[in-house]
């Protein structure tokens, strides 16, 4: 039995269904990230776990206990909000201790707990300040301190890093990861940033329009997206999704990609998914991540199925650690990720290596993965 179980959760506002039957579970000490575009229902889902929103149907269990109808304070959870939600009229210490004060914990114990948390988060020198006197990163720490001090069964984070600047965001991300590793707490984390999702999670639920599109480990989500939406949403730069057709005869399949003003490329598929033979002669969406589309010298050595084809390079973007080259296949801009020192000029033709073991195919009609 998992630690956090959400069964057939539905949430309706009047006739509008915000959550359309969510099934998710998380083991103890796990880190679940709910990720998706704005309005996908991820924050609503988090609020239902917190008890800040009622649910219409379904069940939420934490550690085997159904918490559907419990008041937020009785659920043994702690929450970190997007705006930090620090009480502006109280000091940092007052903020951290407010929950304990409400539960009637004696002042001495409160002080002890505050000191302990302040040490963990290194905010000891800030305890007597008001939130308005803190920087963004410090506020973030205090908000985490307020959650930590409760020592809850479940931590909920609602886009906690979205108000920070880029550099601080990376720092705090590492800090959260470290906190999770050292304290071993169970965390549910909402974000729209897929990099945060990939780096932090042990499990990811990709959501869209109130439905979980795919639920799995970061590697599963990244390498085996179940549909076009997940493939497109996860990864930066995004996966190249190119309209293509399946060619070949009998068991030897190939993928045919249109090029501008030139003959189409045909790439032989050595270990095509079984379902693909039904699509012979039909259009599919061919998905290949930029790192699986490289210069031939930079291609993965032990990949079993690499095909090379000449491509016309339109734009070159040196990014320091890599060089991104943009070509045009099937009428769409396709990004290839080359070594930083790859000698490549825009406007020329150059051979690119397609790592077809990493390629995925989607049915353009259903947008689902062809397996």
């Amino acid at each position: 039995m998992a630690f956090l179980e959400i069964d057939g959760l539905k949430k309706r506002f009047g006739s509008v269904e915000i959550l359309k039957g969510i099934d998710v579970e998380l083991e103890k000490g796990g880190f679940l990230v709910l990720v998706g575009p704005s309005g996908c229902g991820k924050s609503t889902l988090l609020n239902t776990i917190a008890g800040l929103e009622t649910i219409t149907e379904g069940e939420i269990r934490v550690d085997g206990r159904t918490i559907n109808d419990l008041h937020p304070s009785k659920r043994d959870i702690a929450m970190v909000f997007q705006s930090y939600a620090l009480y502006p009229n109280m000091t940092v210490a007052g903020n951290i201790a407010f929950g304990m004060e409400m539960r009637g914990v004696p002042a001495q114990e409160r002080q002890k707990a505050i000191d302990k948390v302040a040490k963990v988060l290194q905010i000891g020198h800030l305890l007597q300040r008001k939130p308005s006197q803190l920087s963004g990163g410090q506020r973030q720490r205090v908000a985490m301190g307020r959650a930590l001090v409760r020592d809850p069964k479940l931590f909920l984070f609602d886009e906690p890093l979205s108000n920070l600047d880029a550099k601080l965001r990376v720092d705090m991300r590492i800090e959260i990861k470290r906190l999770h590793a050292t304290t071993g707490t169970t965390i549910v984390y909402v974000t729209h940033d897929q990099i945060e999702a990939m780096t932090l999670a042990t499990k990811i639920a990709v959501m869209r329009d109130g439905e979980v599109q795919q639920f799995g480990t970061p590697a599963e989500i990244y390498n085996n997206p179940t549909n076009l939406f997940v493939a497109d949403f996860m990864g930066s730069p995004a996966m190249n999704l190119v309209p293509a057709t399946i060619g070949g005869n009998g068991s030897a399949l190939s993928v045919v990609l249109q090029r501008e003003a030139r003959d189409p490329i045909s790439l032989p598929l050595a270990n095509a998914p079984a379902g693909l033979s039904a699509f012979q002669g039909k259009p599919v969406i061919f998905g290949v991540r930029p790192e699986a589309l490289t210069d031939p010298e930079g291609a993965e050595r032990n990949a079993s199925n690499i095909a090379t084809a000449d491509c016309h390079i339109e734009v070159v973007e040196p990014a320091g650690s890599d060089t991104f080259a943009v070509t045009n296949l099937g009428g769409k801009a396709v990004v290839a990720r080359l070594r930083a020192d790859a000698n490549i000029q825009p406007g020329t033709s150059t051979p690119l290596a397609f790592n077809l073991t990493k390629a995925v195919f989607f049915d353009p009609a259903t947008e689902n993965r062809i397996l």
Binding site: P72, M79, A85, Y87, F98, R103, R146
Partner: protein, 314 residues
């Protein structure tokens, strides 16, 4: 040449036109300010003059021998109707009536605003709409119905006193006035607080809920401490309105010992025994105006700030 000259000529022309504009605007403003302050000036200088000086001198002249005697007389000796014990008793009457009325209506308004923004229920817009509507009901139209209600409350108070020996303040004119002003002020105070709390971050409420704070704990520990600007605005607004109210005061406590300051002042001026003591009347009027002036001086900064905040966020 002409290309360079044109903007230069325009700018000089613009400058002189602007100067004239300024002179006209400031001249008019000064004139209006003078016009507006003149009565206050006359009141102030008259209140420090002796009767002799008033009868013989110029209304605008400064007092030759300033004296506090009219103020002392207004406070302690002047006749209100038939009793001649000054206005001090009525001043306290007003304080006793205004302070509870202001505090109760402000706190209830804050509570209403809190519920209407953070604990929304079905039909909350209708309730708020009705409360807003209350702001636009003219005083005169509630005079008679309110008198009927206060009459019934008074009779109920008598019944209570017969039964329990204590009337719980029902039928007491001061309590009646507090009640009327609280009811009438609720629309405004609710409007002020509702607009202020509309912009109040809801995540704070959620955080407090997760922390286990109850409905009233959130109100007292989170909402109220962060409502200082709108609290001051509402208190000033209510204080001024209730202190200055004459209609309700004269209708429900127009005679007898509970008479508030405004009604008493009217009676001082209308008392027609012997000479009209302008200096005493002016001093009494000044005393009646002082508390509201004081409130503005003490909290005026917040008033402007609070009004602005409400205007932008509301």
């Amino acid at each position: 040449m002409s290309v360079i000259a044109t903007p230069a000529r325009q700018s000089t022309g613009g400058t002189s036109a602007r100067t004239i504009n300024r002179i006209v605007i400031y001249g008019l403003l000064a004139l209006f300010a003078l016009f507006y302050l003149m009565p206050l000036f006359v009141m102030l200088v008259t209140s420090f003059k002796t009767m002799e000086e008033i009868q013989n001198g110029n209304m605008l002249a400064l007092p030759q021998a300033p004296t506090f005697e009219p103020w002392a007389k207004a406070w302690g000796e002047t006749c209100v109707g038939l009793t001649c014990a000054g206005i001090k008793g009525y001043f306290w009457n007003s304080i006793k009536m205004v302070v509870p009325a202001v505090l109760i209506s402000t706190l209830l308004g804050a509570l209403n605003g809190y519920v209407l923004t953070k604990w929304r229920f079905r039909g909350h817009t209708l309730v708020f709409g009705l409360m807003l509507f209350a702001c636009f009901i003219p005083f005169q139209s509630v005079l008679l119905p309110m008198a009927t209600i206060l009459g019934s409350l008074g009779r109920f108070g008598v019944t209570l006193r017969n039964a329990t020996g204590f009337s719980f303040g029902l039928g007491n004119p001061t309590v009646n006035l507090v009640f009327v002003h609280v009811v009438y002020g609720l629309g405004f105070t609710t409007l002020f607080f509702r607009n202020y709390y509309e912009a109040f971050p809801t995540e704070l409420i959620k955080a407090a809920q997760v922390d286990g704070a109850s409905f009233f704990q959130i109100f007292r520990r989170i909402m109220l401490p962060n409502s200082m600007p709108i609290f001051v605005v509402t208190v000033i607004y209510q204080f001024t309105n209730i202190w200055n109210d004459f209609l309700f005061a004269s209708a429900y406590a127009g005679t007898g010992d509970a008479m508030p300051m405004t009604v008493a002042l009217n009676n001082v001026v209308n008392t027609s025994t012997g000479v009209v003591e302008y200096n005493v009347n002016m001093a009494a009027a000044m005393i009646a105006a002082l508390p509201t002036l004081l409130v503005y001086v003490v909290a005026g900064r917040y008033f402007v700030r609070g009004l602005m905040a409400g205007a932008v966020k509301g």
